[in-house]
Every structure is written in C-alpha cells, then in structure tokens.
Amino acid sequence: MTALAVDTPTATAVARPVLEGRDLSKRFWVRRGRGPLTRRARLRAVEGISISLDAGQVIAVVGESGSGKTTVARMLARILTPDSGTLLLDGVAVQGRRTRKYASQVQMVFQDPFASLNPVHRVRYHLVRPLRIHHMAGPDVDAAVSDLLQRVALTPPGQFADKFPHELSGGQRQRVAIARTLAVRPRVLLADEPVSMLDVSVRLGVLNLLADLRDREHMAILYVTHDIASARYLADRIVVMYAGQVVESAPSVDLTDRPAHPYTQLLLSAAADPDRLVRPALAGNGAPPSLLAPPGGCRFHPRCPQAMDICSRVAPPSVDIAPGHTAACWLHVAAEDRHATEAQPEPHTTHTEKDLQKLSAGGTGG
C-alpha cells in the first residue's frame, strides 16, 4: 500500500529506523442510532499505514480532523493496539501489552497541556514520578529535575519546580509536559498537536524546542498537526493523511512546493498564505467521507476535481513522483498501466455495489 521508506532491517543495518509501523490498521466499533434501533458499526479509522521514524528526524503527519492522524500516533505509542500490522522498535517486532521498557523508549506529548498535567501536583512531582517509576531517579533527584527543566528552557529551574500547573502559561505547561517525557530518556517522541492549544506567539518557541531535541539529542520525532505551514517549518518529511490513509509523503519543502496529490493541493490552497495576493481557487469541495462506509476506489474521488473513471473503482497504488516523494493517485500512473489495471476485474476494491448504494443513501452521518 503506502510504502514509506520501507527498508528491511537486513538491507540497511546502519540507517535502520528507530520506530517503524508497517501496514497498521485500526477499526473502532461505534454505536449508531438510538433505542431499539441501535446497531454497532465499524469505523475504519486507519487503514494500511506504514511509517518509519529515524533518529534525528521529524516526520509530520498532516490531515483534517478525523483523518486518523492521532490514531496513528497512539498506535505507535501502543496506547491503542493495532488490529493488524506490525510495530518494530529497532527492527524488532513488539507485540502484546505495552511494557515499561517500551514506554522508556517511546513517549508521547498530548495536545492539551491544561488537561495532561495533574492540577493538584507541583511541576516537581510530574518530573520525579517518571524517574522513580523507571528507576532512573539516581542519588540526586533535584539535580535531575533542574536538568530536565533546563533542557526545555524553563529557567531558572528553581523557580518552576515548585509551581502548580495553573501558575504556568500554556506554553510553559507544554514545556513541562515535554520535560516529563524526557525524564525517561526516550529515543522517540510522539507529539500530538503539541502547539494547537497554545497562544500564537508562543507556538514557535515550542516548535523550536522540538527542533532542538532533534538536532542536539538526535531524537526521532513524530509531529502530528493540521497546520501544514508549521509542518513545513519543523519537519524533515511530511506525510499527508486523508480518511485513514496516506495520500502523499515527501520531504517537507518538496511537498509544499510541488504537491502531487489533489488532496494536498486542496489543503495548500485552503491554508492561509498572506504572501499571495490573489488566492487560487479552492481545488475541490465537500467534506471528508464517513469512515463507516468510505467510498470505494480512491477515497478522495468524490471531492477530486480531476477524478477519472478508474478512481471510483480501483484504489490507486503508491507512485514514486521523485526520489523520496510518493503519492497515491492515478494521475501519476502512466496511461497504459492505468488501462491495464482497468481491464482487470477489480482486485483492489473492498466495496460491493451494495456498500456504495448504502453510502449514497445515507452516508452523511458520522
């Protein structure tokens, strides 16, 4: 499906990704309807996503709400168990429940620093707890705490260690949340919209802190966001998700300067960009599909201004546009290959005619 720098551990032992997810899928069961009509429906949150995080790199996952980007981050953190697919930490498959050892390698920063810190405890408590749980406290806990605070630029540390979360601003709280993840010396940081709840003027500070951790401490960072401009600023590579699937993946400047997938083009035309005096027309319309019954073929085809006949029937393969730049779109498949696929009896579609009818009849819910 969506191959994202898939290199087998044997092939390149040196540049092995720290954390890799291969072909991850997650479905949720949701209740539809009320009273006696209640039924359970399967929501396909994420389907067949492969993603690999290298040391010293920031990968951004960009998409609208409901595109499955947070689910990907949570699966990588093993807060959620994938329904299918494998997780590899240092090339070794991990299975079963999340172990403490895994947590000490892979840590997550959550969106809302107002909710992720315990309001009745001081900053020191938040930082000491992971140290103790992971038996990393050492003889001098205070020194460890002030070191952590210094690493996230909360200086002088003495001033911050004894504060309660409510005494801190949003940006400072998010720094404490990041310091807490750093306590166990993880090698992977999964940041789920770390700046979207913060004031505009302090966002860059937190993004720069993440960039610092990448450059100085060589951490592998996943940056989940809906803001493509900040992804371009921070990330080395951007992965664009739509309706639970990866539609495009490329080095970040490549992706924003030469978007190949119509959905990426739509996102970019919708993003605020004061530099252009005349805005391009919005490339497409409508809203993301219901994940209870996603459209067959390419999931973007009902909104795509360039949709072709094949798009509604066969899911597009992932195509190499340039080195390191892939897009899942039929537009980038040579015409003869497209016709060859079209001639075959639809092998890829997961939907029957009935599914599609059901979708067009009442697919607005969700």
Binding site: D199, R203, N208, A271, D273
Partner: protein, 387 residues
C-alpha cells in the same frame, strides 16, 4: 474568488502614487472604550481606551491572542456583557442606515441606549456570529424552529409559510440545502453548524456583522469555504464586518483593515496589506514572525519571547515592554497611546516619537514601489521575493 480579485485594486489604492479612494462613511465608531471585570482595586482591565472605526461594507479584522480583550470589545459594542463586566468609559456610536432602505438614518449611542432601542439594533442591525456554534444553537430545537423564532419576532408581518421560505432561502445563501431546516444541531457537521449561524445572523439583513472567531474550530478546507462564502455575501448584501481572530495570517487575506490588540489595548491599526508588508509595532512585527511562510527557504524563526501577560497583572508602561526587543527606559514607565503616524495608520509605540532612532524592521517603506503603479501582480512578486 471574485472578492479577492476585487480587493487587489483596493489594496493598491492605499499607495501614495494612486489617489486614495474615497472612504465609505463610518457605520460604527468606537471611541476610548474601557471595559473592566469587577470593581475598584480588584478590577481587571480587559479593554482599555480602544478606538476603532468600521466603515460601510468594509471588513475590519481584530487580531490578538487569547485574553487580549478582543471578544470583550466586540460584546461591549452590543452591550452583551454580563456582570462583573462593566463598561467604564468610552463611546460606541452606531450610524444606522438600514440596508433595505426602509428605516430612517440615525445615530444611536449604544452605551446610552435604552433596552427598547437596543432590541431594535441587536440582530436586526448588528448581528453576532459566535465562536462555538454547538453551544450557540439550541440543541433541542430544529434549525427551522430557530429561524422561525427570529423571524416571527422581528418580522411579524410574515406568514408561517413565508417564514419557512425565507429560512430556506437563507440556508441556500450559505450553501446549504433547505432540507436541513428539519435537522437538529447535533445532526450537522461543525462546518454546517457554523454556516447555519451565519445564515441566522444574516436573517434580518444587518448592517454590521460581528464574527467572533467564526472558523477557529473548523478544518482548514471548511474554514476556507465558509470564508469565501462570507466574502461573496458581503459583496452581495453590503454589510460591514468586524472579524475577530487570533490568526493574523488569515486576516491579511480577508480584511480591508486590521487592528491588533495586546493586553486590552489596540497597539496598531492599518490597511491589511500595509500591516503585513510593513508592520510598525514591535508586537505586530513579532506576531507576523510567528507564522511560518509557505514558500521559500526555511529559516529559523523566533516567535516572541515570554508569554502574554495576565490581565490581572499587566506590566506598567507599555504592556508589551517585557517582551519587546527594542525596549527603552521610557517604555517601562509611560504607556503609549494610539497615534496616527501615517495616512490611515495608527500605532501605539514610543519608537515612533520624533527623535527616537527607529529600528529598520519597523520602518519598512510601504508600499514597496518597484513596479509601475497599478501593476499589482508585479508588486506582489517583488515583495514576495524579498522575503
């Protein structure tokens, strides 16, 4: 789209080389408005001495971070604030001239108006679109019933079927199907709820629309669709809009004029393009540097050091001085007021006093005239390339 194209000559109209277009007459004038929460020494000064003018058919953007007082300012215009909020000083003048041409032109002092007078203005002449559409809509009534409420009170002459037709027409105006009148708010997506809110605000053909972060909770694509819809409606219906948001980069594309708020004060106001190309206040300059660009080389950006002040504890002097890179001794003591420095621009900063050395970043000439006047595309290219 057309609205964007239409705006370009407008933006160019601010150039000194082209005679400035005649300004529309003001529809809403705010002078020296102060709003406190609480009394006496405990009072929190949420809005201090704000001057703002909204002209007919114009979009004025009010930008600021959370807690800067921008929503308080907007709610004060309609006197929608509840205790402990107190309007302690200032003047809000509404120069009413109904769009339909039916009513008489008059000036209403909003802060002195009696309840009956306020009721005539609220919604009919000045309507508000609130941020959280799910909380603003009644969850137990259908969209149709909520339209019906408004129309039956304010347009008593309309029959039931005429009201229904009008409601359907309003939904159609914001790109929704009239079938949706039978839906409950929870059955609509976030974007549709916000569209419904806009349709309801426009139900009585107001002269002024106040939009309080109308698209903040929405996805970028939905946000863009709604804003384009809104601009089309503005061109068609001719209302003026006060658009409140924390997203300055969005305002630059959308608004005719932008006012920037910080810690309850307006620190700068200018035509949108001028503000973006050549900010005059250190805070505006810093805020613009908080939005990573979508083009060109990726350069490290710093944002603004520190964090916005707590309104309970506003620094003395200029409230921005602890975060300002060009702070002077005077800034720590005296509070600057919004002064007109150039045509159509005002800034509250001591750096703009005569005799004070001005940092280059705040003295960018605007416009950057390198092309033949009127060739706005050339102007855009050059300015963009300079980044």
């Amino acid at each position: 789209m057309m609205s964007q194209l239409d705006r370009v000559p407008n933006a160019a109209g601010a150039l000194p080389v082209v005679p400035a277009p005649a300004l529309a007459d003001p529809v809403l004038e705010i002078k020296g408005l102060c709003v406190d929460y609480g009394f006496g020494d405990d009072a929190v000064h949420a809005v201090t001495g704000c001057d703002l003018t909204l002209r007919r058919g114009e979009v004025v953007g009010l930008a600021g971070e959370s807690g800067s007082g921008k929503s308080t300012l907007a709610m004060a215009i309609l006197r929608l604030l509840r205790a402990p909020a107190v309007i302690t000083a200032g003047e809000v003048l509404f120069h009413s001239k109904p769009i339909s041409g039916g009513g008489k032109a008059q000036t209403i002092d909003m802060l002195a108006a009696a309840d009956r007078e306020l009721r005539m203005v609220r919604w009919s002449e000045i309507a508000v679109v609130l941020q959280s559409a799910l909380n603003a809509l009644n969850p137990v009534a259908t969209i149709g019933a909520q339209f019906d409420d408004v129309l039956s009170v304010h347009r008593p002459g309309l029959s039931r079927s005429a009201r229904r037709d009008r409601a359907g027409e309003l939904l159609g105006m914001v790109g929704m199907n009239a079938d949706r009148l039978r839906s409950y708010p929870h059955e609509l997506s976030g974007g549709m709820r916000q569209r419904t809110m806009i349709a309801m605000a426009l139900a009585l053909a107001p002269q002024v629309l106040i939009l309080d972060e109308p698209t903040t909770a929405l996805d970028v694509v939905t946000q863009r669709e709604i804003l384009e819809e809104l601009m089309r409606l503005r061109d068609r219906l001719g209302f003026a809009a006060l658009f409140i948001t924390h997203d300055l980069s969005l305002l630059v594309e959308l608004a005719d004029e932008i006012a920037v708020m910080y810690a309850g004060r307006l620190v700068e106001s200018a035509p949108a393009t001028a503000l973006f190309r050549a900010p005059r206040h250190p805070y505006t300059h810093g805020l613009l540097n908080c939005f990573p660009p979508m083009h060109g080389e990726r350069l490290p950006m710093v944002g603004i050091p520190g964090s916005p002040p707590n309104l309970r504890d506003i620094p003395p002097g200029c409230p921005f001085h602890p975060r300002c890179p060009w702070v002077m001794d005077r800034c720590k003591v005296d509070t600057p007021t919004l002064e007109r420095t150039e045509p159509r621009r005002a800034v509250a900063c001591w750096l703009h006093e005569p005799g004070v050395p001005m940092p280059d970043e705040l003295a960018l000439p605007y416009p950057v005239i390198t092309a033949v006047p009127g060739a706005s595309a050339g102007l855009a290219g050059n300015a963009g390339a300079g980044r």
